[in-house]
């Protein structure tokens, strides 16, 4: 089998992905998660057959145009592929950086003109000097002055360390991407929002969108922190829930004797099992740890929730052999 990339033909080895094939032949294709999630390596097929898995999670119009993710594309025949500029690129500036907890910082960007998004979608943030790229969810809402992201501080993290030290710097914003946003027109639908770590950031946007839209159905938000210093926004969430009988918040934080109502050491999956939300009628947003997202999606589906009402946003870390850091 052969892959033609911008006119150059390359042999595809058995079991090899299109991305691996192109890299082996010296082609430069940016990549990050290499797991068919972040959409950083997106290419467009001009001819040939694309396996379904290489288009999962892409919007319908993109599938129709032949866009696909070469990192998980193992074709069954010849392909002709080219680069794509389907993801719009905007220019922004880092306005400020604030620690929300010892592990999580809030990074706010200027909102580029004509950047249209829904809170909870994600962007690819690019450091212009060298193309270093990471995906972040948008925690703010359209109409708010700044574009807000929640970034987990990684001791060795190239992007998080640079962001922390770079207020005022110029960045590129590519997107928006993803479907993790509030759905208008069903104000009574029960909503389950569950996330681990900074998976809280899209949930924060979905929750605030729902309240802004006057959502009357029950909204249960669950946040799991791997350790106490990863817990953040707890006061802000409490303020949003206060005085609203339909909003309930809970956090799962292992280690420590918790006396504060809502916080317990009980693992998140167990807390979800105990909730009285009618799952068959509900809509769910699951964000953060990929194993948590996948296992919870399956469990909710088996409990009767249709797949179309489960918004899954796994945060897949950069692959060791990704080209973006």
């Amino acid at each position: 089998m052969r892959v033609a990339f911008e006119g150059r033909e390359h042999d595809l080895a058995a079991g090899e992905s299109v991305l691996e094939c192109l890299e082996r032949h010296g082609e430069q294709v940016a990549s990050m998660c290499r797991a068919g999630v972040c959409q950083c390596c997106l290419l467009r097929a001009e001819s040939g057959e694309i396996p379904g898995i290489a288009q999962q999670g892409l919007k319908e119009s993109w599938r129709a145009q032949g866009l696909f993710m070469p990192c998980v594309c193992r074709p069954t025949g010849d392909l002709q592929v080219v680069r794509t500029d389907a993801i719009p690129v905007f220019h922004a500036r880092i306005l400020d950086v604030l620690a929300l907890s010892p592990r999580v910082m809030r990074v706010r960007l200027s909102t580029p003109d004509f950047f249209r998004f829904s809170g909870g979608q994600f962007i690819q943030l690019v450091r212009p000097q060298d193309g270093l790229m990471r995906s972040y969810s948008i925690a703010s809402l359209p109409g708010e002055e700044q574009l807000e992201m929640h970034v987990a501080m990684q001791p060795e993290g190239k992007m998080s360390q640079w962001l922390a030290a770079s207020p005022g710097a110029a960045v590129e914003v590519r997107g928006p991407l993803g479907e993790c946003s509030y759905v208008e027109g069903e104000p009574e639908r029960p909503l389950l929002l569950a996330g681990t770590g900074t998976g809280l950031s899209p949930l924060y946007a979905v929750l605030r969108s729902a309240l802004l839209a006057g959502h009357t159905g029950p909204i249960h938000l669950f946040h799991a922190a791997a350790e106490p210093r990863e817990l953040y926004l707890w006061q802000q969430l409490g303020a949003l829930a206060a005085g609203r009988s339909n909003v309930r918040i809970a956090a799962s934080v292992p280690g420590g004797e918790w006396t504060e109502p809502g916080i317990s050491a009980l693992p998140l999956p167990d807390q979800l099992l105990a909730t009285d939300l009618p799952m068959k009628a509900a809509r769910a947003y699951l964000c953060g740890n990929p194993d948590f997202v996948r296992s919870t999606r399956k469990r909710l589906y088996l409990q009767g929730m249709p797949l179309g009402r489960i918004h899954a946003d796994p945060f897949v870390p950069p692959a060791a052999n990704g080209t973006m850091g």
Binding site: G36, G52, I53, Q56, K298, Y301, L302, P306, L307
Partner: protein, 120 residues
């Protein structure tokens, strides 16, 4: 009076829509076969279940014997796996209160691809 074909009698595309989630949930929780169906891409797996049910219901499916072989050869399936799928199909249709004679017709169509699926 000419008799309508099975697909029409069983309820057409609406019957497939009603059956697909019941069926997919059954196979996902059947220890004998769940590992074949438990993938990251649940949407795509669900679409495959729809195609299978459409075929079993006598609808204009796009399955050919060659596709069946190619699609299943790498799984090294056994009689037990095939029987499990047949049982889940039957249980799904019973749950939907499909009359017994229509279930038998659907089961016969599904059984007709057995040799292709088991690669014999």
């Amino acid at each position: 009076m000419p008799q309508a074909n099975l697909f029409e009698r069983i309820g057409g595309a609406a019957a497939v829509d009603a059956a697909v989630d019941i069926f997919y949930r059954k196979v996902l929780t059947d220890d004998r076969i769940s590992h074949f169906f438990d993938t990251v891409d649940m949407e795509r797996q669900r679409t495959k279940q729809k195609a299978f049910l459409t075929m079993a219901f006598g609808g204009a499916g796009s399955y050919s014997g060659k596709d069946m072989r190619a699609g299943h050869a790498h799984l090294k399936l056994t009689e037990e796996h095939f029987d499990a799928v047949m049982e889940n199909l039957g249980a799904t249709l019973q749950e939907l209160q499909v009359p017994g004679e229509l279930i038998a017709e659907a089961a016969a169509i599904a059984a007709s691809v057995k040799n292709d699926v088991l690669n014999r």
